[in-house]
């Protein structure tokens, strides 16, 4: 599903990723951890083509991402569900609209989109707030909306950047079970996290990123 070869990423002459090689098979669940500034978020941004690497190759589901023309990006991104660290919710849309608008890009009819969105929101305990605007929600609720939006169209690849950062233990556990369900259904899941409890809760492959290189690749704890 993901193939990365010799990827480096520089910001103002500061090297964030240094010749990174990585391979994630379809249907795998991978945790990405490491100290702040190790390059976890940068790696995810490269995967969903928000940025281009300084050098190296990135392949996603058979498509080369790093050289992809912008006309090809929407199709690529529709295969990926991204849970952003900063939520990236549409401020002027309600919770329901924030979740359903991505379904529109998949050509799903409004009624069906509403049904699917409600189902995911209910699972995340947010169905009673479907008419609220993001600014009226707590951090945890906003994070759950972002999660619902990423999961609602059942993508083949889910990239989650600190998805439990604003959630309490129960909700974090519920999210993990949700991600596991999706993973069992065949989706590849990559979760960037600081949360050691989350890493310990699931015996999944864990990549430790340190100073732009993969320092450890195996089960947690190292």
């Amino acid at each position: 599903m993901i193939r990365i070869r010799g990827v480096t990423k520089d910001y103002d002459r500061r090297q964030i990723l240094r010749g990174l090689d990585l391979s994630v098979d379809a249907g795998e669940m991978v945790f990405l951890t490491g100290p702040s500034g190790a390059g976890k978020t940068t790696l995810l941004r490269l995967l969903y083509a928000a940025e281009k690497p300084t050098s190296g190759e990135i392949w996603l589901a058979g498509d080369r991402v790093d050289t992809m023309h912008r006309s090809g990006l929407p199709k690529l991104r529709r295969k990926i569900g991204v849970i952003f660290q900063d939520f990236k919710l549409l401020r002027r849309k309600t919770v329901l609209e924030n979740v359903t608008f991505v379904l529109r890009f998949h050509g799903i009819a409004p009624r069906e989109a509403n049904r699917r969105a409600y189902k995911v929101l209910k699972r995340l305990g947010l169905h009673h707030r479907q008419g609220a605007l993001p600014e009226s929600l707590s951090g945890g609720e906003q994070q759950r909306v972002a999660i619902a939006r990423a999961l609602v169209y059942q993508p083949r690849l889910i990239l989650a950047d600190e998805p439990t950062g604003n959630l309490d233990a129960d909700l974090a556990s519920e999210l993990l079970s949700l991600l596991c369900d999706i993973n069992y259904q065949g989706a590849t899941v990559v979760v960037a996290t600081h949360d050691h409890a989350l890493l310990e809760s699931l015996p999944a492959r864990t990549l430790v990123l340190r100073r732009g290189v993969i320092d450890y690749d195996g089960r947690w704890p190292p």
Partner: protein
């Protein structure tokens, strides 16, 4: 996708209340001005030479001048007045003209032949008055009307039309720029949402749709307004011009169609260019 573009475009329009009517008006005014100017030009063209062309003065030479004398006289006048262009009218051609102007001469001309007519020379000049001096020339039998009023009126009307077209063009350029700048500002205002939509897999058409709808709506309004303004203004001016004996008419359908095209296509083109530049910058 269309439903999304219409809904979001409507929201965009509603949130920027006065922009749409101002944009529609700023498009309609120059388009109507150009339409009215073109209509009036059409009325004037058959009666006034709107170009900066020369006037034509016809003179009749004395019948005693033979062909060599006439050529020598024409050469002499050409030397004296470098800005005149003298052309002798063929007798047959002159006979045709005389028969047209004075039908009762037709029979006489048929009987006697065109040779009975005195030779005519046409002088093309920007200053028809300067030909008046030829009245004292012994070789000249008669000098036709030498007033340059037609040229002067035509020149003034022509230049006035040019000024109006220029003003309309400048206003139109301003209105198109306005449409482009508005889209540019809205793109900046909604930059965060657009970035999120792109990250979620929105295609360029999904991102652009609402902006195009938001420009198309005032453009359609401008098209309708410019047709109404042109028809009303042309009708009103034609009533004013009726005593002058001008054969006035309403604006041509082709002109109205061109106005609709300008009102819709130009601001949309400005919006598309702005959106394209924005997408390229985002990349």
């Amino acid at each position: 996708m269309m439903r999304h573009a219409l809904a979001e475009g409507w929201l965009l329009l509603r949130s920027r209340g006065l922009i749409s009517p101002i944009l529609a008006l700023s498009l309609a005014i120059p388009i109507s001005l150009a339409g009215v100017t073109i209509s009036i030009r059409q009325w004037l063209e058959p009666v006034i030479d709107l170009g900066d062309r020369e006037g034509v003065v016809a003179i009749l030479l004395h019948p005693r001048l033979d062909e060599a004398d006439r050529q020598s006289w024409i050469d002499e006048q050409t030397r004296k007045h470098s800005e005149w262009r003298l052309v002798e009218v063929e007798p047959e051609e002159l006979a045709v003209r005389m028969s047209t102007w004075f039908p009762y001469l037709e029979e006489l001309l048929e009987r006697e032949g065109p040779e009975m007519l005195p030779p005519m020379v046409e002088i093309r000049t920007r200053t028809p008055e300067s030909v008046l001096d030829l009245r004292n020339d012994n070789s000249v039998l008669a000098v036709g009307p030498t007033s340059s009023i037609n040229q002067v009126v035509g020149r003034v009307a022509g230049r006035f039309a040019t000024v109006l077209f220029t003003v309309a063009g400048l206003l139109m350029a301003g209105a198109i720029l306005f449409a482009g700048v508005w889209v540019h500002l809205e793109l900046h205002r909604n930059a965060e949402e657009i970035a999120i939509m792109r990250l979620m897999g929105a295609t360029e058409s999904t991102v652009r749709g609402p902006f195009l709808v938001a420009v198309a709506a005032p453009a359609l309004l401008a098209a309708a307004a410019s047709i109404v303004i042109t028809v009303v203004a042309v009708g009103w001016i034609s009533r004013l011009a009726a005593p002058l004996g001008l054969a006035t008419s309403g604006p041509m359908l082709l002109l109205l169609a061109a106005q609709v095209c300008c009102a819709i296509v130009l601001p949309l083109a400005a919006a598309v260019i702005t959106l394209e530049r924005h997408a390229a910058t985002e990349e």
